[in-house]
Symmetry: C2
Subunit: 96 residues, 2 copies
């Protein structure tokens, strides 16, 4: 049971520079693996890709999936030279 | 009064290819002009810029502004050659 709870936290797909369909597949795989909800997280320029992923999952593959929530925030990153920079981030949560 | 109502619909800032601060200024100008809420709309790759604008307005210029809602959707565009393409879109609504 505790393991089950821990696993829940891992139901997150982090969006990077791969193709949109890679992440769509990752989300669907999480749902098929029993996840009740999946978070799609992105920061910076790939935020638009996170929206694409959520929309494609909902419209093309899982019409029953619901948009549970969208959170936007600002995260601080420390670059290699020690300077701080701020970057916007999004988390889109889908549930079925 | 009717005019006032009509003007409400125009409290939207469409994100394009200009710098983030242009749109931040546009949002603040709308609030200073009396708008109770301002919508920030973007589609495609500039969605991330819309999130930047909302975050910068809230964190740097108007800490009292609230995130009223975020909507994501898919819009269909007809290109010049008549073919249809789908594009993700976001609308972030700030209120004060």
């Amino acid at each position: 049971m505790a393991e089950e709870t821990m696993r829940k936290d891992e139901n997150v797909v982090y969006i990077g520079k791969k193709s949109v369909m890679c992440y769509v597949l990752a989300v669907i795989t999480q749902f098929n693996g029993g996840a009740a909800e999946v978070g799609i997280k992105a920061r910076g320029k790939v935020i638009s890709r996170a929206v694409d992923v959520a929309e494609i999952v909902r419209n093309r593959f899982m019409p029953e999936a619901k948009l549970k929530g969208i959170v936007i925030k600002t995260e601080e990153l420390t670059s290699e030279d020690g300077s701080m920079s701020k970057v916007s981030a999004i988390e889109i949560t889908l549930s079925k």
